[in-house]
């Protein structure tokens, strides 16, 4: 898959709180993610990684604080940020085929020549021969491939990945790492939470560790980064 130069977009989280009732999922999170940066999020279960990614995708409105994009947006809403999001759930329809799913989202995203783009991605994720199979007949790894293909449809400038390697076999992980390298090289900003995906964690140039919704470590260099990446890959 060829990757054109991507528009570089950075993210700025300012004092973000997210509460669910009395429970803080995020607590005063302030971060500046530079355009083109690749950041790995680490932390225990329930530390706030998923919530932070959903706030970045503008799927969750913070209880307090502000999320801004640079260069500044003139509009608001998830679509205009050109965000690709891979979540825990596959975010595709089990009752549709792999091709129907991708065509649906390609048309919604108003991609020119959607069929051509879908063909390319299906070939890339190794599902071209299963294009007409219903997603519900797929294994977890195959579903994850469709999920990743969906997130990459519009060649997003910001990629938000929540344990993207979940369910992928070693070949799938290699493909994902290679794809992310290419996207990163083209200027995409990547924010990912990892869990046991060492091949992908090698991409990260910055590590952020969360605990109880707060940032407890943020580093770009040296042993601290390795320690965070090791924690993420554990």
């Amino acid at each position: 898959m060829t990757q054109a130069e991507t528009r570089r977009i950075g993210l700025r989280f300012e004092n973000i709180d997210k509460r669910y009732g009395g429970l803080y999922a995020l607590r005063r999170v302030s971060l500046e993610i530079a355009p083109g940066e690749c950041v790995a999020l680490a932390g225990r279960n329930g530390s706030g990684k998923t919530t932070l990614l959903r706030v970045a995708a503008q799927l969750v409105r913070p209880s307090a604080g502000k999320l801004t994009f640079s260069p500044a947006q003139t509009e608001t809403g998830p679509a205009v940020t050109n965000t690709g999001f891979v979540a825990h759930a596959t975010m595709v329809y089990d009752e549709l085929t792999a091709e129907e799913n991708l065509l649906l989202f390609a048309r919604l995203l108003e991609i020119t020549e959607p069929a051509k783009r879908v063909d390319l991605l299906l070939r890339d994720v190794g599902l071209l021969d299963r294009r007409d199979s219903l997603v519900r007949t797929f294994s977890r790894g195959m579903r994850q491939r469709v999920a990743i293909a969906r997130a990459l449809l519009h060649q997003p400038s910001v990629l938000l990945l929540d344990e993207p390697g979940a369910g992928l076999d070693p070949q799938g992980l290699s493909w994902l790492a290679e794809t992310l390298w290419r996207l990163h090289g083209a200027g995409a900003t990547i924010l990912m939470s990892l869990h046991g995906e060492s091949e992908i964690s090698g991409l990260a140039t910055r590590g952020i560790r969360l605990d109880a919704g707060a940032v407890v470590a943020d580093t770009r260099t040296g042993a601290s980064l390795r320690s965070i990446l090791t924690f993420a890959s554990a």
Partner: protein, 224 residues
Amino acid sequence: MSLLSNATVLLGKELRTEFRSRELLTTTVVFILMVVVLFSFTFDPTREESRRFGPGLLWLAFLFAASLMLQPGFLREQTNDTLSALRLSVSDPFAIFLSKLCANTLFLLITELLMLPIFAVLYNVPLLGVVPQLALVLFLGSLGLSVTGTTLSAISAQARMRELLLPLLLLPLLTPLLIASTEATAALFAEEPVLRWDWLAFLIAFDIIFLTAVWLFGEYLLEE
């Protein structure tokens, strides 16, 4: 234009998934058939009684069918978090609601059209002379059911006890619509059928008010 093109694409998805599985239509048609047949056996109404009680019975059956049919609309989108994928893909979130509204109205109308001949035979109510007028009442009533039901389905999908919440919220809210639809239908079932424009105007106003409210505030319904 983005709104309409997105809504059209999503409507295509709704129709494709439903006509592939036929889950909603089959369940609802069977359910409504049982209600109409059981009422017929239980009360064994005369032709005069059918004219008096038939419209109320018919709209109650449609209301029960709607509460059954509308529940999964947004619930299905929770299974794989596809609602989030849709929100990330459409430029106007109202497109998501609009497509579900159109699909629900269509499915409800199909159910009603399948049921009417059976109702006419079981209750001995001649409908052939008032088909266009009845179609208008059914359309306006079903649109009102769908607008309200789809909105509440979006609200209840994110709540606990969601299966109970939709009927609990839906039934009281739809009481005015139920009365107006029943009265308009009763006027068509009378010995000398007449189209009651006052009740039709009420139905149109109900539909417009709810549609406008959802258009203005619908974005918040889809948020987590």
